[in-house]
Amino acid sequence: MSDAAFREEVVRLAGDEIRTCIQCGTCSSSCSTAHLMDNSIRKLIRLVLEGRRREALASESIWLCTSCLLCTVRCPRGIRPKAVVSALRQICEREGISSRDASFERIFMDQIRSKGRISEVLLSAAYALRNPDAAVPIMEMGIELLSRGKVSLDPGTVKGMDEIERIFRELGND
């Protein structure tokens, strides 16, 4: 796909308004995961408009968006930055580009499959092992939360694990 075609596809998927972005940064500074992103959501839009396909698609930010929609609520131009993320995810999926953080999803799923729920502590720990640069802040927060009894080490197992297993099978996920 050419760079121009890439831009046009994102514009089509995310809405024509994105052409009117004034790069004000309201979206990025509203974003709950901005501090973890390599390219802020604002910059992502710039990359798209510049047709910088490779950079845009390689951006980890695409996978860090939590869909909180604050960007979309606040953008003064009525742009939906979240829709840009969705568009990029869609294109990535089609082109078989996956995130470094696919590991996170895998750990997440494994825990659900074995216990029916997730343990924040174990999940974070497993994730931190694979992503050392994210580990420090996660550990700091974890210790704080543990000490206040906000999280526990063993979440226990939910009832009806067979149901969970069935869901996984039906989704074709053995």
Partner: protein
């Protein structure tokens, strides 16, 4: 009817392409023509004298000049025939230069045939011309100025100094508007009230100005020259002739304190108060919402000025013109919840910081944190609050807030050199004389410019936290400040809507009043005799508001100075026998000239003669005095009498854009096919369905309706009506078996001669593909029946 026809050579401009002698001979054969001459230069003195002597000797009733565009020399020849004793409207021009010799240089024979048609059309119309009298009506030379802000003050003073009587009506107890509340003003940093107060005093002292404060307009009737205005002056409960303005006596005694709206809630005032120390008039006022009726102020007043039984007083004015200077209102910052205004005490607005910086304001010029009363050491300005923001419905830039923050940041930095002052901006808009230099000065003073719009403000234990992305660094950050100033935008004044509705002013999508032309007529409303100055038509700086006040005043002077105005007789009128009172015309009229009481009535002072109503009337009850139905139908019949070409097109072109565009094609010598015969109408909205149908009935292969580009109609919305009508007509054509593609619309600006020429070229080709009119009929019917 005795008609003289004069065919101009225009040197070789016409004669080189057209066979002038043949045209002359042809003209002689036309009905009603008693003389036809060809003249070297008809507009020369010699040419004009020939026409004049013919009028006298041959007793001509009407004159046809076949020459250049009527947009060029119609006024000349109108004068010529008036001098010879004819009514000026007994003239018709055939545009054989711009529409013929200059655009068909390569086809002299076809061009000559077209010129014959144009002359025949002009003669046919001339035979139906009627003398029209220009009526002069006396007008009131008084002017009403609504709004006593700086724009209204400037208008009132200019008018009064020129000798016109002015009524200046202000809603608040004092004039001066927002300017009276500001501290120093950009880009010179001079003290706002110091430069304004003398003007306010001048208004008060000028015998030609009747100042009516604390007053509102209730009704406006009538039209240009005679607006009948009703208003009311609210009771202040203080006798203005007795009050000495000492204020400390009465307000000192008053036990009630309320937030002071003139300090935007920062300070307090009493129930009996003076808006600002420089109030004009300098008369106290009792706020009845706050007053508890204790009577202490009346006892305290040494002049016995407090009168609890004062009544509101109605007034009636008869004015010739109205200047609307109703100003703006500040954006309500609490609507941007994420910035915490109204929740966090240390988040303030531009207007509040103006009051703080003002030596006469609630903090005596000190910049304090309202929560603690301590001096603020770090201050953030947040730009574009309520401007350039779709989420609050204000997509426009408020124009002045960048400069206002630059100015306030400088004032703070000058007073507190150690303060940390930052401006969070998207773009700094400093386009004006001395503005960029002002920006430079702010940078030199060490003000921190942070590029990125603030997403939210949070209150912490020790101050306010501002979240933003520094988009130049590409970092999302958070910064602590003592004080946050929201640079609020300007909105259309909601209180002015009443006046707008009474006058029938239109509004732009941004809700400000719309001016007659966004570039060329900056202070005129669409309604004759009504002018708009200052922020009523959009955010403006002080200097522009003043200039607009003066401009509006000078427009009003031009209108009223003579004490009478000439009414253009080329207006619409209603045949009351025919009118069925359906009111369809009322809304089509862009000038709001039509009212219906049983039958419709056209206010000739308001009507601008576009003819949209005449085309809209379902029973043809509205007629135009010039460009009448019968005149235009006669032109259509004359045009189609010979049909010397295929495809044959009849075109209706509006005077202001498309006809002017055709003229430009001529002067630019852009060549296009000879197939079109153009009929000039004032507005595309004038084109009555019956004109189009008549053209087809008489065998035209195509009809072109052309007007100004959408949004640029000289009469605001005439072309939209035209478009609507064309859509309906196309349906009708389909019904009766005529291919709807034979009816074409084109929008072009006066500067787009090439566009018009191209449209005509395309239309000719399209019609060639369609075949002669009636082809589709023949195809639809079983063979042998045609």
């Amino acid at each position: 009817m005795r008609i003289g026809v004069y065919i101009c050579h225009c040197g070789l401009n016409i004669a080189a392409t057209l066979d002038v002698e043949e045209l002359r001979r042809f003209a002689e054969t036309l009905p009603n023509v008693v003389v036809a001459r060809d003249i070297q230069f008809t507009c020369s003195d010699a040419g004009q004298n020939t026409i004049k002597s013919d009028i006298a000797e041959l007793k001509l009733d009407a004159v046809v000049v076949a020459a250049c565009s009527p947009r060029l020399h119609e006024p000349t020849f109108r004068r010529t025939i008036t001098e010879a004793g004819l009514n000026q409207y007994m003239l018709e021009m055939a545009n054989i230069r711009e529409q013929c010799s200059w655009v068909h240089m390569d086809s002299p024979a076809l061009a000559t045939q077209k010129a014959k048609d144009l002359i025949a059309m002009a003669v046919a119309k001339a035979a139906l011309l009627r003398p029209l009298e220009t009526e002069s009506v006396p007008v009131s030379r008084d002017v009403l100025v609504i709004g006593g802000g700086v724009a209204g003050i400037s208008a009132a003073l200019d008018l009064a100094n020129a000798g016109l009587r002015v009524y200046l009506v202000e809603r608040r107890p004092t004039i001066g508007g927002y300017m009276a509340l500001l501290t120093d003003v950009f880009p010179t940093n001079d003290c706002s009230i110091c430069v304004l107060a003398p003007k306010m005093a001048e208004v008060y002292a000028n015998p030609m100005i009747k100042l009516m404060t604390y007053s509102e307009i209730l009704a406006i009737e009538g039209t240009v020259g005679h607006f009948r205005v009703t208003g009311v002056t609210k009771p202040r409960y203080v006798d203005p002739t007795l009050c000495k303005g000492c204020i400390n006596e009465c307000s000192g005694a008053c036990p009630v304190e309320v937030p002071n709206e003139y300090d935007f809630g920062l300070g307090k005032r009493k129930a009996i108060y003076m808006a600002i120390p420089q109030s004009v008039p300098l008369v106290a006022c009792i706020d009845t919402d706050a007053c508890i009726g204790c009577g202490l102020c009346a006892e305290a007043c040494p002049a016995d000025a407090v009168k609890y039984d004062q009544q509101s007083e109605e007034f009636k004015l008869d004015v010739g013109a109205i200047i609307v200077a109703t100003g703006w209102q500040p954006f309500d910052a609490s609507r941007k919840e994420e910035y915490g205004f109204g929740r966090y005490r240390d988040v303030v607005t531009t207007l509040q910081i103006e009051r703080m910086l003002n030596a006469a304001g609630p903090t005596r010029g000190e910049i304090v944190r309202p929560s603690t009363g301590e001096i603020a050491r770090s201050i953030a300005f947040i730009q574009c609050v309520g401007s350039r923001d779709h989420t609050v419905g204000n997509p426009y830039c408020s124009r002045i807030c960048c400069m206002a923050s630059l100015k306030n940041a400088q004032l703070i930095k000058e007073r507190y050199p150690d303060a940390d002052v930052a401006i969070h901006y998207i773009d700094i808009r400093a386009g004006g004389e001395g503005y960029e230099e002002f920006y430079l000065r702010a940078q030199r003073l060490g003000i921190n410019f942070i590029r990125g719009r603030v997403s939210s403000v949070e209150e912490g234990d020790d101050g306010l936290y501002v979240h933003y992305e520094d988009t130049l660094l590409g970092k999302t950050l958070m910064k602590r400040y003592d004080l946050v100033v929201l640079s609020i935008g300007l909105e259309a004044n909601r209180d002015a809507e009443v006046v707008g509705n009474l006058l029938g002013l239109s509004r732009r999508p941004d809700r400000f009043f719309e001016i007659a032309h966004p570039k060329m007529r900056p202070v005129e409303a669409h309604i004759d005799g009504v002018f708009i100055a200052g922020c009523a038509s959009g955010p403006k700086e002080i200097q522009v508001s003043i200039a607009q006040g003066s401009a509006a005043a000078s427009k009003a002077m031009q209108l009223l100075f003579k004490g009478e105005i000439e009414l253009d007789p080329t207006v619409a009128f209603v045949d009351r026998e025919k009118c069925i009172g359906c009111k369809l015309c009322v809304d089509t009229c862009p000038s709001r000239a039509i009212s219906v009481k049983d039958t419709a009535f056209v206010d000739e002072a308001r009507c601008k003669g576009c003819g949209t109503c005449a085309a809209a009337c379902p029973v043809d009850a509205i007629e135009m005095r010039l460009f009448s139905d019968e005149q235009i139908l006669a032109q259509i019949r004359a045009a189609t009498a010979v049909k010397g070409e295929y495809p044959f097109i009849v075109g209706f072109l509006c005077n202001w854009c498309s006809y002017a565009g055709a003229d430009l094609a001529g002067t630019s010598r852009i060549q296009y096919p000879t197939n079109i015969r153009i009929i000039r109408v004032m507005c595309a909205g004038r084109v009555d369905p019956s004109f189009v149908l008549e053209a087809f009935r008489r065998g035209a292969d195509g009809v072109l309706v052309a007007g100004c580009r959408i949004g640029e109609c000289h009469y605001v919305s005439g072309n939209l009506h035209a478009l609507q009508r064309v859509e309906v007509l196309r349906g009708l054509l389909r019904e009766i078996g005529i291919d709807p593609r034979r009816l074409k619309v084109a929008w072009c600006a006066a500067s787009e001669g090439d566009v018009l020429a191209r449209k005509i070229q395309e239309f000719v080709e399209e019609l060639r593909d369609l075949g002669p009119v009636g082809t589709e009929l023949a195809a639809a019917l079983p063979s042998g029946k045609v």
